[in-house]
Symmetry: C2
Subunit: 411 residues, 2 copies
Amino acid sequence: MIQVAILGFGVVGGGVAKVLEENAALLRARFQTDVSLKYILDIRDFTGHAMAQRIVRDFSTIEKDPEISVVFEAMGGVHPALEYSLAAIRAHKSVITSNKELVAHHGQLLLREAATAGVRYLFEASVGGGIPIIRPLSDCLAANRVTSVTGIMNGTTNYILTQMEKNGASFSDALSDAQARGYAERDPSADIDGVDTCRKLCILADLAFGYQVDPARVLCEGIRRITEQDISDASDAGYRIKLLGHVRETASGIVPIVAPFFIKKTHILSGVSGVFNGIGVVGNMVGETMFFGHGAGSAPTASAMVGDLIEALERPSTPVGWSDTAPDHFVQDAKTLAFSRYARFVSPTKAQKEAILDAADAVLRDKDGTLSVILKPMDAQTCEVFLASIMPASPESVIRIFVPGEYVPEE
Amino acid sequence: MIQVAILGFGVVGGGVAKVLEENAALLRARFQTDVSLKYILDIRDFTGHAMAQRIVRDFSTIEKDPEISVVFEAMGGVHPALEYSLAAIRAHKSVITSNKELVAHHGQLLLREAATAGVRYLFEASVGGGIPIIRPLSDCLAANRVTSVTGIMNGTTNYILTQMEKNGASFSDALSDAQARGYAERDPSADIDGVDTCRKLCILADLAFGYQVDPARVLCEGIRRITEQDISDASDAGYRIKLLGHVRETASGIVPIVAPFFIKKTHILSGVSGVFNGIGVVGNMVGETMFFGHGAGSAPTASAMVGDLIEALERPSTPVGWSDTAPDHFVQDAKTLAFSRYARFVSPTKAQKEAILDAADAVLRDKDGTLSVILKPMDAQTCEVFLASIMPASPESVIRIFVPGEYVPEE
């Protein structure tokens, strides 16, 4: 019999308990033995709940029980999830988590401690919810040098942008709708300012490029300023607007960025709508790949965590992980990268208009006093200088254009 | 040092040699030792080739060399690939293949022999080329009861259908174009009649449902009869036409089918264009997932095979596989399944038209003597009887409508 514990009996922990119970026969067939949920750590009162007898309030009960071989950490946040995870690992229990904040900030430490203790620290559910992405990236695609990773990794913002496109809703109306449906929290800033996407991007960058990347060093812009007009100009020109986490290799390191981007409707990622997530990986041998599914939710997240149970039990040790904090110049500032940009100007003078058209590769709209263009590729500073030079016609909107790592032909 | 051999130095075998060479540093970092390509089995003359010294013509050289721990089978076809694979396995070498025909027909035997010998038989590259799908399905999603698998698994036919849609090309012109580009073979029947898709579908069904499914028992229709008019009616009604391999669970077994389907443009699989493949898996916990990438080609296929090398070396044994040939009633005839269908009639009489409209859920086109409708769901026999009843207005075209396992909302 395999005995496990869950830390935190909320949405995710409850999902793990549900998967272990509902798919018990399936897991028994796989392991040739039962998986028994012995403890659930939660400080709340579950009197009368079917699981009430398994609830414990003291983590040391779990830590000190030698029968527990695997701990599901479903608490969220850094403290005390970090301390509990370290203690469990040091007590030779594998730890499985969905906690992206913890992995993004302390993954290196936890992986090293797990290797030392001869157990696993696994986090498939920390990126893309139920979507298999961590294991495909670290194992199936490991024969590749990864050249870029690009993902729609936040269902809340993707739902909002999809609503704005499909129904012509404003950002604030779409946000209210997302809140009403429970897709967005009352304080939605971690989602809509890109913080959540940034953590997930860092985890993927850690795995793909081998160094712990500090989220604080990533250029991170959210979607608060996206307007109906942006969405409609994008659509008319054959694009959608998506909040992307993107990292690509350069000659001397990597450039990570989280920002809203124009992405061609013909690109597979632009078909990822609503609360779904999609994560693209480009490798030097495999070319473009993409992984799609539910990026959040109780059952999908638990599906990934119980999938990790199989990994923990069938492959108790592996060199997968990342070594050190990135060297100083490894993580480069995305401001140095040249991007084409969508820009929209209101009532430019004739001279300003001429300057804008000179700097543009394409005109998307030129009527009723509005001029929307695609600017030629520029780095952030060049773009700033250019825009300052044509003030006071400062643009209403500036949004980068995504350039895929591998071109997908429009046949 | 890890010593390996390749059987067959064609497109796939050459790709494996290339990945082992170009990404050698990356593999060395992973294994903490070198991977050395000791032999390549091929009967052709490679005098002067950089790899000439590794070429051997007698399989027993490889079979009898105890230093070889892994064999890449890149020969294709059933014989002698089956005999060589069995011999290698019995000599305690793991075998890695891209050979879908062999896996679809003899996977059960090869997996059983590998388990007995304590080695692995791995076939990630046999479905979806470079796309990670076998391992995600058998490991990452193993906490799920799989309810359906649906894939665009043949790049040749997908290229042809994409060309027909984008350029209004006829089937035969699009086929000629695919042949000119090397995407289709001179005898394209294995691709366009669905045989290749059927083998891949059977492998996925084996893994998802636990029994070896005989390709001969799968209802299999190709795309020869798809016309420009079908594509254009589909597009006007918000659909694309894709050749799908689809299998879903029923109360008492599974129903596999390979056929062209109407699929909503809003479904993620309909965005899989050109030579790309996409494979969707629906699980009872994870919901809908999809895996996208290059379904063929030298480097992508080799990427998957060298990915399997990691699996073979890091996890020398695992219960993954499928047990037995399916029991008699497990694989059900797709003819018993009710589908909505697109149907197009030319110049029906008034009475015939009334009968058609009575049986229709929607009218797509009704002008210039052409009537295109979506028929209400019917099983194959009911549909045949209905169509016979309104003869001689037999339809020009009848194409099934795909119903996703999980509804993706059009938000």
